[in-house]
């Protein structure tokens, strides 16, 4: 059964290719069947492979497909590597991905470009699976760039709108900066270890200088930061919400943005050898966590709130990684996929019902109008704020507990993490109260309210998992070593819950709508809403100078030199041609003068 591993990425790829080649010739139903069906098959296959894998004790499994790059001395294969980490990732991608595809089929059913949509979605899943299953850093990079490409295509899916085009470009380029950092990291690793095969690097006993290793690791972190929208490369994620909501759910919540977390988890043996780098990762996580939380409080677009929330939760994952709690980080990755996908898809249902209205201040009172959807929203948000017993509770607790004890993290980071939990609760309940309670700020009729079953059914597994997913115990012992469960004083373990409760109470006072709510327009609010000034900063530092250069140098300053040569020759011609006046006597005189000079010269020099 494990030999069928190759089918898991292959099925979505084939589906994507078929949909591409038969563009415009398939009915929407067939498109949906193909697009969703391939995902379903992949998910079932993953389940079966997983069962066999665990049954065999979780030993890692390799499957080499073909020779890919015959690099002299270190050939790279197109090979798949299955271990506990990649199994979990694969399960999340195919499982949650299947649900999202199912939902998307209903969501995008009336869009005339639905076939193109599924081409991109399936291609994305293929690339993401290559990312997590690849046995070499080059194959990982293939998946990495592939998901970047698909993200670009999906964000700009409705490409007749200029704003979407700009958002997709921004996403691609900002993540490319991270990708370049990662590429340089790859160069250093190849130079030091002589190979880009992950196992070779990770198990190598070659002594590498601390400075080189630190450089390589920090560059890998740079790549991770770009893909996972952490500081300082986080600016693309809020704008990426321009894409259709299923895209935001799949790519910008459950899978692509977790690629950075996966990278660090996968290469953790390297990171463990370098002094200080994991501490840096933890700091990045925690700072992003708080920044995103603050920004989320100032948003009025429901998807942007969820985007900043994602950014914040990935910050938790980075914190977990930095605190040496790799298993906790991946656990949180999984639970986050459940409840964030649920949240985004629920938001999608709301947006559909609101006729593509995304402003929360134009919603309100949806508990009465859309009770089922609002319940799903509530469940998702409870998981997000780590309500005791929900999946988010277990994973967030694990991370925070590890942070307190880890020597690469510590109490300071723990306190900031707790602050983040407070902020999470605050913005989550703000969202809940403004959207679901209070007077209705919209003008929809009762008849619009009933959700289609196709939009509800795929959410049910996600709801279930968001509630009970915390009880799934993941075994990472062969990858990360035996799990350690720190024993901490009770107040430390329950502080995040207390803080979440505090957030709930504060949100009740601040945001529970007694009359119509409006977005605040204070300076601080606007500053936070616009990503705390990072967009402005990057524009001044990078975009504007580049555009200035482009304007100034369009004619190529180097060409001026060659124009000068041409100009010089023509001017010389204009000067010299004066002597070509056609008059015979002048020519005679010239000849004779020349002769005289030559003779004179000869005579004088003899």
């Amino acid at each position: 059964m494990q030999n069928l591993l190759v089918l898991v990425p292959l099925l979505p790829l084939l589906s994507s290719l078929i949909l591409l080649l038969l563009a415009g010739r398939l009915s929407p139903l067939l498109v949906a069947l193909l697009g969703v069906g391939s995902m379903g098959l992949a998910a079932i296959l993953t389940l079966l492979i997983g069962i066999e894998f665990i049954g065999l004790g979780g030993e890692s499994f390799q499957q080499v497909l073909f020779n890919w790059l015959p690099i002299a001395g270190a050939p790279i294969n197109f090979g798949l590597h299955l271990d506990q980490l990649s199994l979990v990732m694969m399960s999340v991608i195919t499982g949650v991905g299947w649900m999202i595809h199912w939902y998307a089929a209903a969501y995008m059913f009336e869009d005339k470009d639905v076939q193109r949509f599924f081409v991109y979605m399936n291609l994305f899943v293929f690339a993401m699976l290559m990312l997590v299953l690849g046995d070499s850093l080059v194959l990982l990079y293939l998946g990495w760039e592939g998901v970047g490409l698909c993200s670009f295509l999906l964000i700009g899916f409705w490409q007749h709108k200029a704003d979407n085009v700009v958002a997709s470009k921004k996403a691609f380029i900002v993540t490319r900066v991270g990708d370049t950092a990662m590429m340089i990291g790859l160069l250093i690793l190849f130079s030091e270890y002589g190979s880009l095969h992950i196992n070779t690097i990770v198990e190598s006993t070659t002594h590498v200088s601390q400075s080189n290793l630190w450089l390589a690791c920090i560059l890998l972190v740079g790549g991770a930061v770009g893909k996972s929208a952490q500081l300082p490369l986080q600016t693309w994620l809020p704008d990426a919400m321009a894409g259709p909501t299923p895209v935001s759910a799949l790519i910008h919540a459950a899978t692509m943005v977790t690629a950075g977390v996966y990278l660090i988890a996968r290469m953790h043996p390297l990171f463990l050898q370098v002094e200080g780098i994991l501490n840096l990762v933890a700091w990045i996580g925690v700072l992003t966590l708080v920044l995103a939380g603050v920004a989320a409080l100032a948003q009025s677009d429901i998807k942007r709130i969820l985007a900043y929330s994602t950014m914040s939760q990935i910050g938790y994952m980075f914190l977990g990684l930095g605190a040496l709690a790799f298993d906790a980080a991946i656990f949180h990755l999984m639970t986050h996929a459940f409840f964030k996908a649920l949240l985004f898809l629920t938001a999608g249902s709301i947006i559909l019902k609101m006729h593509h209205q995304q402003d929360i201040f134009k919603m309100g009172g949806l508990f009465r109008s859309l009770p089922l959807t609002s319940t799903f929203l509530l469940i998702g948000l409870l998981a997000l704020v780590a309500f005791p017993g929900s999946s988010g509770f277990f994973s967030k607790e694990a991370i925070l507990a590890a942070t307190y004890q880890a020597h690469t993290a510590g109490p300071t980071l723990w306190w900031i993490g707790v602050l983040g939990a407070f902020l999470t609760s605050l913005y989550s309940f703000r969202l809940l109260f403004i959207v679901c309670f209070g007077p209705a700020n919209h003008d929809l009729k009762e008849a619009d309210y009933k959700p289609t079953s196709q939009l509800v059914v795929p959410l049910l597994p996600l709801v279930t998992l968001a509630v009970i997913g915390g009880f799934i115990s993941l075994d990472f012992s062969l990858v990360f070593g035996p799990a350690n469960h720190p024993h901490l004083p009770l107040w430390i373990e329950w502080m995040p819950v207390a803080v979440a409760l505090l957030g709930f109470i504060l949100a009740w006072f601040l945001y529970f709508p007694r009359q119509s709510m409006q977005a605040s327009s204070s300076v601080i609010n606007n500053f936070c809403r616009d990503g705390l000034g990072f967009d402005w900063l990057y524009e001044q530092l990078f975009t504007k100078p580049l555009q200035l250069f482009a304007r100034i140098n369009k004619g190529d300053v180097i060409d001026h030199f060659y124009h000068f040569v041409g100009w010089f020759n023509f001017s010389l011609n204009e000067v010299l041609v004066i002597s070509q006046n056609g008059k015979l006597r002048w020519y005679l005189f010239g000849t004779l003068a020349g002769c005289a000079l030559m003779l004179g010269g000869l005579i004088l020099w003899r």
Binding site: Q580, N581, G582, R585, L592
Partner: protein, 101 residues
């Protein structure tokens, strides 16, 4: 009294220079031809003197040669002159400058 041969060569040089100056400073083509004749004759005189110096008849032979060349040249030159006069109505050599630029 024999005239020193140097005087002869000085005469040749002077004649040649006069011819040259005339050639360069004259605009009328006829006068340019005449000046060229003077230059040719100066050259021929130089050969006579040389022949006399070496006591050989070769100098005089070359003199005849030069004279005949000069005559041929004058013939051609005058023919061209006539055509020139017919073409531009004038013998001014500065008017022939279509090869400029």
């Amino acid at each position: 009294m024999t005239v020193p041969i140097e005087h002869g060569f000085v005469l040749v040089a002077l004649l040649w220079a006069i011819g040259l100056v005339g050639l360069l400073s004259r605009k009328n083509t006829l006068f340019m031809l005449m000046s060229m004749e003077i230059m040719l004759n100066a050259g021929a005189l130089a050969f006579i003197l040389a022949g006399s110096l070496w006591q050989q008849a070769d100098g005089q032979v070359i003199y005849i040669l030069i004279l005949s060349i000069a005559a041929a040249e004058v013939g051609l030159g005058l023919a061209l002159l006539i055509r020139l006069r017919q073409h531009i109505g004038d013998l001014d050599i500065d008017k022939l400058d279509e090869m400029k630029g």
